[in-house]
Amino acid sequence: MSTFDVELTVNGTSRQGSVEPRRTLADFLREDLGLTGTHLGCEHGVCGACTVLVNGEPARSCLMLAVQARGADILTVEGLATDGVMNPLQQAMWESHGFQCGFCTPGFLMQITALLAENPNPGEAEIREALSGNLCRCTGYESIVNGVLRAAGHDGSPIEPQH
């Protein structure tokens, strides 16, 4: 199988590799670059766990081939904290208990990062809409939505249940 050279920016650092065309971006990040923070759940674009930012836009890294990311600027969950200090979104999610097992968390964090970049003050409905493509099997989503509200500057008190 022939290989292709891939050069891209990941979390602000220029990275390169040589990949088979069939290699997904998710596998490239995890296997070739050792960035295992990006999780793979379903591997066919349903669960959202592998969401990363590609040139600022959220994308499923399991539905992109590494060769399609040539020249792109990628942000993964490893790019959020600085020197081990959580960024405000991570801190807010932590304070709201916005995860349990943590498997889906990287995808949620990246999708929320994109949401807040576009709309720094989303309402609950907008948050739920933006996160509709990310599956969490533990939390029931309430604490995740609370975490986003907290990150967006709301007081973080529990939201009223919706009926």
């Binding site: 591997e43 539905l63 999708q111 933006a130």
Partner: protein
């Protein structure tokens, strides 16, 4: 395009990859070559040419959704785009990719059909040709495109004054492919229906126009009863496929309901626009 010609059916053009890559992951498609269209910058633009909105096939759904000209000149398309998948799907998925994939449950084929869009195809052997949306969708995941051809642009005519549109669908979960969807365009003239069009997804291998409803409504008063009767009448002739998610009868029920709702909403928007 030369690559597609060289490799014939062993090669597949790759647009946004939001349908093709899952098919590869599941080994449902096993092409020996993928031709990435993302390098062709001419396919990534939205321009206005006279009364036409011309959308390049590689325009990402998310950028079309945000584009002022799309909202202004193709309101139905702007209403349909947020219904596609999830934000992360739309930031990669393309207009041309969705049309070429031709999923019978997808929104954009029905929108193209309803708006009489012209789809421009190109191959290196035969150059450019224009296919009307009515001729483009042939069957379940099948279009008029030849294996060496790609869709390059979609041309949509600006709606005449007094036109309103709406699209609604019913899906099991938010963002899933809908069981049934309906899109409607209504033009009013002197308070009467001058043109009513309605198209359905999920009731056949291709998106279909509900022509019975359209004929009944021609020249009628835009009343709720008129829309309900037309929708019921048109739904009778449907024989939607049954699956795990819903029986044929349930889908027929949804079709009638969604036709009624979208026609009513489209008429309301037409009144507001006038």
């Amino acid at each position: 395009m030369a690559l597609l010609q060289e490799h014939g059916e062993d090669a597949r053009p790759l647009a946004g990859g939001q349908s093709l890559v899952p098919l590869l992951s599941l080994r449902l498609a096993r092409p020996s070559h993928l031709v990435d269209l993302a390098g062709i910058s001419e396919l990534g633009t939205i321009v206005v040419e006279g009364d036409h909105l011309v959308i390049g096939a590689m325009v990402r759904e998310r950028s079309a959704e945000r584009h002022g000209d799309v909202r202004r000149l193709a309101p139905l398309l702007a209403q349909a785009l947020p219904l596609i998948g999830h934000p992360a799907i739309r930031s990669r998925g393309t207009i041309g990719g969705s049309l070429s994939h031709a999923d019978p449950a997808a929104e954009l084929p029905a929108v193209a059909l309803l708006l009489d869009a012209d789809l421009v195809a190109q191959s290196s052997a035969r150059g450019t040709r224009t296919i009307t949306a009515a001729d483009f969708f042939i069957g379940f995941f099948t279009t008029a495109l030849e294996p060496d051809e790609i869709l390059t642009e979609v041309r949509i005519h600006r709606p005449p004054p007094g036109t309103g549109s709406a699209i609604e669908e019913v899906a099991r979960r938010h963002g899933d492919f809908a069981m049934v969807g309906a899109a409607a365009v209504v033009r009013l003239e002197d308070g009467k229906i001058a043109d009513a069009r309605v198209a359905l997804t999920g009731v056949s291998g291709v998106p279909v126009r509900a022509t019975e409803a359209e004929t009944v409504l021609d020249g009628a008063e835009p009343t709720e009863e008129a829309f309900a009767t037309a929708a019921e009448e048109a739904a009778k002739s449907l024989s939607p496929p049954a699956d795990l998610h819903g029986s044929s009868a349930y889908r027929r029920h949804l079709a009638a309901l969604l036709m009624r709702r979208t026609l009513k909403l489209a008429a309301q928007r037409a009144r507001e626009a006038a």
